[in-house]
Amino acid sequence: MTIDRIVFGDNQFFGINHMSQDKAQERAERFAKLDNVMAVYDHAIEAGIEGIMLNSNDRAKGICDRFRAEPEKYGHLRWYPSIPYPHKYASMVNDKGMVGAVQEILFAQGAKSAFGKMLKGGMAVATLDAVKLMKMLVDQEMEIYHDLDVRVVFLQNIIVDLMLGYDVAEPFVAYCEHIRKKYGAYPGLITQNLPFLRRKLIEWGIEDVVICASINKIGYLQSPGVEEYEAVLAENDGEKYPIMAMSTLASGAVPAPEAYEYINRLNVQSVVFGASSPGNIKQSVSLIEGAPA
């Protein structure tokens, strides 16, 4: 399995940042315009990046449309979607409760969709098979990325880590199988508990899964801790479980040269990073070893 050594993320556009409110506001205003978002992507592509991670948030469809509209310019790119957009479901559950939220998502597909037919056929939400339900939700999210070259479909950490605590193999097995079969892509799991998740995947016999996790010098968002991460990475088989590092700068706590010097020493197959200025993008690409020339 090969995945891009460098993947360009989306946190710079939509991420919740820890900086001042003024800066956050300035950024939100700037990236409310799709042209400004695309300009940043163009800088990244100019710097040699060919892999893009994009969360299925409410802006994602518009962005993908722009990429699809210019195949000669963007057709070579490889995509790394992350699903779902957790905030969408959180507010739905807030508004309507768990069952109401599921119903709303299913009905949103319209009467002619697979859901519509099932619901018309008298199937109640309460008796839906969970695996079937999961597949439908995945398919709905993946609609955003149609006709793009999808390499890995990542499941967000809020879902992965929640399910990890339940200690049940079945949803993980079902997700991975669905992504492979339906999308011909590699399943990916984002986690803040890399050692625990990897141990469980081995126990459950699930292989060929990309694991994306925060990996940084100071151990920020790395449970149980940085030593355990380093030990696990040292013994990890990057063929069976390719590792994609995120949060390498630890929300800006580690300067880029120091951060990537650390990452370059580790058995990490890929790095996802976000930046919005041409200078920062170029700097990151040049600091990550094994990067495209």
């Binding site: 919740i16 820890h18 905030h87 959180a90 507010s91 559950v93 807030n94 508004d95 309507k96 409760g97 768990m98 069952v99 599921v102 939400v125 309460a126 008796t127 839906l128 969970a130 809020i158 880590d161 929640l162 399910m163 990890l164 605590g165 339940y166 200690d167 049940v168 079945e170 949803p171 803040q192 508990n193 625990f196 100071i218 151990g219 920020y220 968002l221 790395q222 449970s223 149980p224 801790g225 630890a250 929300s251 800006g252 706590a253």
Partner: protein, 347 residues
């Protein structure tokens, strides 16, 4: 205690399923039963996790041999549930705001304490690394005697017209910005300084809700002279995630803190902490603690693992039923003060 704790979850909504995952990941705890009225939820939980599932707390308490329960139901249900839990002599973790009436809170605080049962309420900000650090600074006198504080909380939870359905629509069920959000802002004040003695100039305003308030504003007074204000707005769409902002002003400086960072202004440098005169900035990456398992944030794991440690090892409880009851008294004062002002206006 050498055997693993057996836990039951009552109410498998957003908080219930989160606590289930975290508690289950503890080396010495295991979730064995879940009660929830939703058949969708219990069917999936039963099928995939193998826990015992029940449509309500009565079935759970009868069907499982438990050491403790995590109560994550709408607060109007909690008195009835906790009566049964106390009768069964089980330790209890209860989601905030715990109860709707302080008189109920007092009864259960006294009952659980007398029975020697660990009792904890899920005011999770007391486990946030930024807030615990800020409290430590205030307690050690970094900014001198606290004179004035401001506790604010914002979110875009209710940003369109909402119907009258659901438990959130009325005070009787525990809906409204006072119970659901101002409770956090009040508890943060109580965590720093204890509960205030009185309130004044309260306004509870509606933006979208029909029967409950969306904005809470008030002033809080302590008999020893400390004063502060609270401002909570859950209809502010400029905030994507719920955010607490807390500021304390003292004679020697001030601290402004939220979940992710802290600004400290000092009249004089503090060498022990390496703080200079003027502005100092701390980020969460400077002070974070680590937890064995992470789901929604470090503080969620820390509070639940503390609950387990309190049962197993007698670790002191950071937010007891009595603490949450003191917060409820403040909420009752806010309702009364707003009602009195509205009555005065009408006259």
């Amino acid at each position: 205690m050498t055997t693993d704790l057996k836990l039951g979850i009552i109410g498998a909504g957003r908080m219930g399923i989160t606590h289930f995952s975290i508690a289950n990941a503890h080396d010495h705890a295991e979730v064995t039963g879940v009660a929830d009225p939703s058949k969708l939820v219990t069917t999936m939980m039963g099928k995939y996790t193998g826990v015992g599932t029940y449509k309500d707390y009565k079935g759970l308490l009868k069907g499982e041999e438990l050491d403790a329960v995590l109560v994550c139901t709408p607060p109007a249900h909690n008195p009835e549930i906790l009566d049964a839990v106390l009768e069964r002599r089980l330790h209890a973790f209860v989601e905030k705001p715990f109860m709707l009436k302080s008189s109920d809170g007092e009864r259960f605080a006294a009952g659980f304490d007398a029975a020697g049962l660990v009792n904890q309420v899920g005011y999770v900000n007391r486990w946030n690394d930024m807030f615990t650090k800020a409290k430590a600074f205030v307690d050690e006198g970094l900014i001198g005697e606290p004179l004035r504080f401001r506790s604010e909380m914002f979110s875009g939870t209710i940003v369109r017209d909402v119907g009258e359905a659901g438990w959130r629509a009325t005070h009787a069920n525990g809906g409204g910005a006072v119970y659901e959000m101002a409770s956090h802002a009040i508890d943060l004040i109580a965590y720093f300084f204890g509960a205030p003695d009185s309130v004044g100039g309260t306004t509870l305003s509606k933006v979208y809700s029909k029967q409950v308030e969306d904005i809470v504003a008030s002033n809080l007074f302590y008999d020893h002279g400390l004063t502060g204000s609270i401002y909570v707005n859950w209809s502010d769409a400029s905030f994507r995630k719920p955010t607490n902002k807390f500021e304390v002003f003292g004679k020697k400086g001030k601290i402004q803190v939220d979940q992710h960072g802290m600004k400290i202004f000092l009249a004089e440098a503090n060498e022990a902490h390496g703080f200079k005169q003027g502005w100092n900035q701390l980020y969460i990456t400077d002070v974070f603690s680590s937890v064995p398992f992470y789901v929604r944030g470090i503080e969620y794991t820390a509070q639940l693992f503390d609950f387990v440690a309190s049962i197993r090892e007698g670790k002191p409880v950071r937010c007891t039923f009595a603490d949450a009851t003191a917060d409820l008294r403040v909420m009752e004062q806010l309702f009364a003060d707003d009602a009195a002002r509205a009555a005065g206006d009408a006259a």
